[in-house]
């Protein structure tokens, strides 16, 4: 019969009309993210040895590290700045860190209202080097 395909299509849409919808109502229900989700960044400054490998691994030169040598000629970290507007969220920095100091967290709501205020994420460590810093 000529119109058979049309009627089959209509049967499919009618069946789906009565099914429950699959929408996640966003602000009320947050999405379930996996363990390895690439969200925003968190730096555990205690573990960071200021080697600069993450900065070299980044394709877009997002990470800027400031470091100094102390009296034993050992490097320590003074400032760690990430310019998120250019970040690809590729994860090469996280993967290449030898001490597991920089990691992803699950925060994905990164929009903000001004370029200076929040977009350029800065982690500036305070002058005492014994406190650990979170993003």
């Amino acid at each position: 019969m000529y119109g058979k395909g049309l009627l089959e299509g209509m049967a499919v849409t009618l069946k789906n009309f009565f099914k429950k919808n699959v929408t996640e109502m966003y602000p009320e229900e947050k999405p379930r993210l996996s363990e390895r989700f690439h969200g925003s960044f968190v730096l555990t400054a205690d573990k960071c040895i200021a080697c600069g490998i993450c900065s070299n691994a980044c394709p877009n030169m997002v990470i800027k590290i400031g470091s100094e040598r102390d009296e034993n000629k050992k490097r320590f970290l003074t400032s760690y700045e990430m310019d998120i507007q250019y970040c690809l969220f590729c994860g090469l920095c996280v993967e290449s860190c030898p001490t597991d100091a920089i990691n992803f967290n699950k925060e994905f709501e990164l929009a903000c209202y001004s370029r200076q205020g929040v977009v350029l994420n800065m982690w500036k460590r305070p002058e005492n080097i014994n406190s650990s810093n979170e993003g």
């Binding site: 395909g5 849409t13 996996s34 989700f37 394709p59 690809l88 969220f89």
Partner: protein, 377 residues
């Protein structure tokens, strides 16, 4: 009087006019411009203008190390990122001549075939939506299934669209424990969903009448123009790189390659649909044979291939994707060129469109299945 009606010379004075299907349009899949010269509703001349999304990826690659370039190859064909990654890493591995561990090869096959399914789902859904906006229902069903695939990818790599999951010598991370059960659950549910698509698209008589006989390209023309992928197999040429020149471990899998005869838009569409089922078959075989072991070969921190050049091609979801890399011994490629399938598949379109109606222009453009990130690079 009767004779005048059937010849080209009308007794009424008519005029051709130019219509610009501009960069902003609901159904050019991205920023693509098509300038048509129309006589009534019939196209007499077509000219496509590309370049609105050019980002200079090939030039940027000359200033990045080999591992960093992987993140840029994702962004070219963003709807099949795993496949573009795969082409690149296999090219560099061919240059370095390194062997990838077995487990990594199987994982790569699973990811590649899942990505092919996701890409074809978007192609099918958005195409039916182009043919008539109210065919959006099928696009929604496609996207629901594609969401499940993207959730699987997020479990493995952490991202949903641009994964950068492949590495030179293997893959970035091993599969988490919940991946294989989730994948098997997905493979059990998806064939019933795929059946639903056909009731709304290829079995629908209106859809068939829109596509049958539109945009025909013969097998000989297809080969001459360099068509590839499902476009070529819809014209009757049985050439799939996974069978003709197997790369990776594709020669160990048992699957069919769908080939259709007529060379019109409907056959290209049906070819993509049939490939969905073949991908499911391949993934099931890969899960069964997945061995244990390492997921990445022993590679130095900084990759410096020997001097030389290499070309390698794979069968991406849109056609044959090829990479040509020239290395001068340093840690950054000297030159990288990508043979992008969407760009080459667009070339015969200007000739295919002459003589068709305006509505057919959209039909033909959708059936070639381009992604503008890949066309412009």
């Amino acid at each position: 009087m009767c004779k005048d009606m059937t010849t080209k010379e009308h007794t009424l004075k008519t005029q051709e006019f130019t219509l610009n299907i501009g960069p902003q349009h609901p159904s050019t899949h991205g920023v693509f411009r098509l300038v048509l010269t129309l006589d009534g509703e019939t196209i007499t001349k077509a000219e496509s203008v590309v370049g609105y999304l050019h980002r200079g990826i090939e030039k940027l690659a000359e200033a990045r190390t080999y591992t960093q370039v992987i993140t840029y190859t994702d962004r070219m064909d963003y709807l099949s990122a795993m496949l573009t990654n795969l082409g690149y890493v296999q090219t560099v591995e061919k240059l370095i001549e390194i062997k990838v561990p077995e487990r990594a090869e199987y994982i790569r096959i699973i990811m590649a075939e899942l990505q092919r399914m996701a890409s074809h789902m978007v192609a099918i859904g958005s195409y039916v939506q182009d043919v008539g906006i109210t065919g959006t229902s099928i696009f929604m069903y496609n996207l629901i299934d594609r969401e499940k695939i993207l959730d699987l990818f997020e479990m493995v790599s952490g991202s949903r669209l641009t994964y950068s999951y492949m590495r030179i010598g293997g893959v970035a991370d091993d599969l988490p424990l919940e991946f294989i059960p989730a994948l098997e659950k997905f493979l059990d549910e998806v064939p019933a969903s795929i059946e639903q698509y056909w009731a709304l698209s290829s079995k629908n008589e209106i859809f068939q009448s829109r596509l049958r006989g539109v945009g025909v390209i013969s097998a000989e023309d297809a080969i001459n123009y360099g068509f590839s992928g499902p476009n070529l197999r819809g014209s009757g040429v049985d050439y799939d790189l996974r069978k003709a020149e197997p790369y990776g471990i594709y020669d160990r899998f048992d699957f069919n390659v769908p080939v259709l005869e007529n060379g019109d838009s409907l056959d290209r569409f049906l070819c993509r649909g049939a490939e969905l089922e073949q991908s499911i078959k391949i993934i099931r075989q890969a899960i069964k044979d997945l061995p244990e072991g390492e997921v990445i070969a022993k590679m130095p921190k900084v990759i410096k291939p020997p001097k030389g050049e290499v070309y390698h091609q794979i069968e991406s979801s849109r056609g044959i994707l090829g990479y040509y890399i020239v290395s001068d011994g340093s840690s950054k490629p000297y030159r990288m060129h990508v043979r992008r399938p969407s760009f080459i598949n667009l070339i015969p379109m200007d000739e295919m469109l002459v003589g068709l109606k305006l509505a057919d222009a959209i039909t033909v453009l959708g059936s070639i299945d381009i992604v503008l990130g890949e066309v412009d690079g």
